[in-house]
């Protein structure tokens, strides 16, 4: 079971209070984009074994979206950060680097 902290309201709870929203930081390709880009945007996901960045929603709480960094294999949660961020904060990335040296080369 995952224990997550909502970045919007600060509540720490287990995952049933939240709703998973899939991979984070996808670039949207809409009308006018190529079929390849649109397919990529709609269907292709990283699905790594290890460090992963996801969107979550505090569905049974404050209702807000936020981001979570976690390990898909060990379920270790590295931290949460704002839904408005386009990329994980540096401070979080270095914490992950401490826990999983060299993880960036995984995918």
């Amino acid at each position: 079971m995952l224990v997550l902290t909502c970045h919007a309201c600060g509540v720490t709870a287990e995952e049933t209070e939240f709703h998973a929203g899939g991979e984070a930081h996808l670039k949207r390709f809409g009308p006018g984009s190529s079929d390849e880009d649109f397919e990529e945007y709609l269907f292709m996901r990283a699905n790594p074994k290890g460090v992963h960045f996801e969107r979550w929603r505090h569905a049974n709480g404050c209702g807000k979206w936020f981001h979570v960094a976690r390990d898909t294999m060990t379920l270790e949660v590295f931290g949460s950060y704002s839904a408005q961020a386009f990329a994980p904060p540096e401070e979080l990335l270095s914490r992950i680097e401490d826990r999983r040296p060299g993880w960036r080369g995984q995918d």
Binding site: G10, A13, N60, C62
Partner: protein, 189 residues
């Protein structure tokens, strides 16, 4: 004017390990806006009779108060018959900025769970740490009770107030009744 009735006509169950009562109808106004805006804070204070609370807190006294619901949402509590006046005051106080006040009193049901084992009853239903010291009067928690969203706070050391959607009032009452059924003490707290 029609007579307002609560969802379950103030049903109660006093036979279990905690007393369960449906109370209300209670006045509830959702206020959304920039909570750092003085106009929003002042309007909330006027309408709720208490200062806008800090994150995840509630300032309540009797049936009145203000609860923090999310980074851009407060819940104003008052007597049911005072809602029209409070709404008028809110609209006046918020006319210059971007904010929303909505009367949600009839969309909600309110329950009170009380007694020395009230914590146990809630802890069976919500994924919340209800250990004394972790959850205390003055705190507001939005969460779920089994399968439906709910919010609760404590009015004293042994009393919880729970709000849920009116459409699931019977479900929540049944949940509480089962969680409090005689002989179901856990003795955890």
């Amino acid at each position: 004017m029609s007579e307002p009735v609560s969802a379950l006509k103030n049903i109660s169950d006093l036979n279990g390990i905690a007393a369960i009562r449906e109370i209300g109808p209670l006045g509830m106004i959702t206020l959304r806006g920039d909570l750092s805006d003085r106009a929003v804070q002042d309007a909330a204070k006027t309408a709720g009779g208490a200062n806008a609370p800090d994150q995840r807190k509630i300032n309540a006294e009797g049936d009145g108060g203000v609860a923090w619901m999310s980074p851009d949402e407060l819940l104003i509590l008052c007597r049911y018959d005072e809602v029209p006046l409070r709404m008028t005051n809110l609209q006046a106080g918020l006319s210059k900025g971007h904010a929303l006040a909505a009367n949600v009193s009839d969309a909600r049901a309110v329950f009170e769970v009380s007694g020395p084992r009230a914590r146990e009853v809630l802890a069976k239903l919500a994924p919340v740490d209800l250990t004394p010291g972790q959850f205390e009067p003055g705190m507001m928690r939005r969460t779920r009770l089994a399968q439906v969203p709910a919010a609760f706070w404590m009015t004293d050391a042994e009393t919880f107030r729970i709000v849920c959607f009116r459409s699931v009032a019977q479900y929540v009452f049944d949940l509480l009744k089962i969680a409090a059924q005689p002989g179901s003490e856990v003795d955890f707290f």
